[in-house]
Amino acid sequence: MTTDQKILIEDHSRRDALRLMAASAATGIFFTNLLGKPAHAQTRPAAPKGRVVVGVTQEPTVFNPLMPHPEVDDSVAFSVFDALFRIDPKGVMVPNLAAEVPTEANGGISADGLNWRIRLRNNARWHDGTPFTAEDVKFTLELIVNPKFRAWRTTGHALVRDIKVISPTEITWRMEQPFAPYLSYLTETFIVPKHILGAVANPNEAPFNQAPVGTGAFKWGKRVAGDHIELTANTSYHGEGPYIERLVFKYIPDMTVMYTQFRSGDIDVAGQAFITPDNYKEASRLPDRAVTLVPAGSVESIYLNLERPQFRDRAVREALYMAIDRQAIIEALYHGVPRLTETFMPTQSFYYKSDLPKQEFSLARATKLLDQAGWKPGPDGIRVKDGVRLSFNNSTTTGNGLREQAQQFIQQTYASIGVEMKILNHPAAVMWGDFWTKSQYDSAMVGITYLIASDPDVSLRFHSRSIVAKGGRGSNNAQYSNPEVDELLDKGARTFDPNARREIYLRVQELIRKDLPFLPLFSSNIVYGRKARIQGFMPNTNTRSESWHAAGWKWA
């Protein structure tokens, strides 16, 4: 890495005391907690005070966390609701509404992975004072798979059977098949109240969806449509905090305007979609502001359609990868903000393989590789083999200036080695419609977050049964098919022990790096900005929101 990157992940000393990593060596990375109150729910200040305004460039409009929503709505969900568990910035699973994280060791998950028993905390209350019980968990899980309910994601939940409420603090169920990622999925499944949503005829149109009631650190205040959402502190929160009295999410439609308001101090935290790379240098020099680079889960790449004859040959894919000057793109176009990567796994993940072969930018070697593989330059200078010209389209969203420039740069480089890459961009709705999902493109330039709730299971992206164009169900748009990878992915989804899973996914990354269904360009870094006086702000790219732990924020 040539760029100086300050990556600040603020530590929380109280929490560290609980990171019994020794225990995790025996039981995996799952963190076992004592039943009842966790140690960090201790000293609360006399009264929360102050207000934090978070600017977001997309308006949060969906307040029932079980309904389909984009990332920005999770900022509100994380504050108003709780899930059974949460993932902390280090990737450790911690209990939230549950009293402990279920593992094989504590009997929470049976040896065959099919029977689950979750113990819940007994001191959580809904914002209207009603106690939280296992009935709410049962109601939530059943609502998600209710065909009349417009649910967001059902993967994993659809495998749950026979949910039994043993007591207000204990719930059991059976999985149709062992599915290890479910634990991670539950960290993004917020629990909703049975006594409110269960009482309405049509949960899709319940008043609850406009004024949600949760168990989280903040209560619903009010919404000024098109402008902002105001949440107020829940002083009887069972967990840490909150220390601020009001949390406001301000909708600012334009990213430049949001940065301006960040500069002028109208907003305290720059939230989704954060600060653009071209403003990074200036932002980091602003007085009274803390601007940091935080690794994101998204990887930008040239995504290939492997059914195209040009890409069937591995030598071609390797040569194309070798002919990209990634460093130049990062430095010149993206202001040095992102970082290089060789894999789809985020660099900060427990499952990240750090010793994959590094790409080396070499036009000479790329040329040699193509020559040796039998791709000879034709009369027009473009390489040909068996009647197939090494010419293809590259597509992305129109109007994305940085991507368009990167495309042109790569196009030029490729032309010098006899490869013709044509640029064919579409507006977002067309690009990511059937063109993408049914693999009608040649190659695409795209930024993808491969992991769901930071779980390493990438079956939806790389398993051969996930190819929609061939009748499968999933998002394997590259039409990638490798029987060994299929087997490993199946095994990984059935394995609960994190260390054993790690071995599996390291091997998956190795195979994919060799096969190159996509050519990694870089791993994204997000430019986080906030007022320097805000303490307790912890980025956590294992979650979908910068405000995942607003409960811990306070003004110095």
Binding site: P147, R150, T155, D266, S475
Partner: protein, 316 residues
Amino acid sequence: MVEFLLKRFMQSIVLLVIVSIIGFVVLNLIPGGPIAQYALDSGMTQDDKERIAAQLGLNRPLWVQYLEWAWRLLQGDWGTSFRDGNQVFSVVARHVPATLLLMGSASVIAVSIGTVIGIRGATHRHSVFDYIATVGAMVALSIPTFWFGLVGIYVFSLELGWLPAGNMYTIGDGSVLNHMHHLIMPSVVLALVHIAIWSRFMRAATIDAMGQEFVKTARAKGVSERRVVMKHVVGNALLPMITLAGVQLPSLLTGALVTETVFTWPGMGRLFLDSLSNSDYPVVMGLLMFSALLTIVGNLIADIVVAMVDPRIRLA
């Protein structure tokens, strides 16, 4: 009069139906839809997306969807937003105050200043004032609003700190003074273009009126120039302006998209763009019908007022 109104009413109904059909068809022809935003969501499977599309009723034939929408509209149900599940009527209505405030104040500024500049330019043709006004109008019309807006924010907010960088009010301080403080820049920036338009129109209309026979007569009678202008010319010059105002009425309530984006003003223009970007069809259709309705009403009011004011005009 009654005959006229009745005829207008029938024409309006036909117009509204045509507008709604065209709008509905074009909207659904645009690729993508409410589900498109989840295209890159790793956790949503094809099954999830198809299920949601079916639950929203999007896979029924287009004419069925249209008829259902139209039938509901006739019963007063404007539909439910795909995004936040609110009634379209309340979604639109919620943004009316902000829009009225911005557009209203911009219009008041534009009309008052534009009229004065226009009249003065016409009565003092080819003077220094006239030339400056003409050039000024061209400049204001040529330079995009967002440029004025961003420069204004840079100078008055970031550098001088006199005015806020945007928003309708400071959260937590909803006082009238605070509102007005926030209103200054956006309404002035927005008014710039409208001042240019009004002044040019007013100038042309005034020149036109001044060339009329009755002005010569008044002057011959010895009426002072000032009285000629104020009493006779301006009145007649304002006639085409009333029609113009009627045409402008819809924009009063449909907002100014660019200004609202630059100044983070929660108006209807912004609502329209957001709904379109997120394929929130019910709200887009609602706004379309609202805008069409306003255009019809605006034109009708303008026609009636002109007929009332100008005895030469009889309503058809």
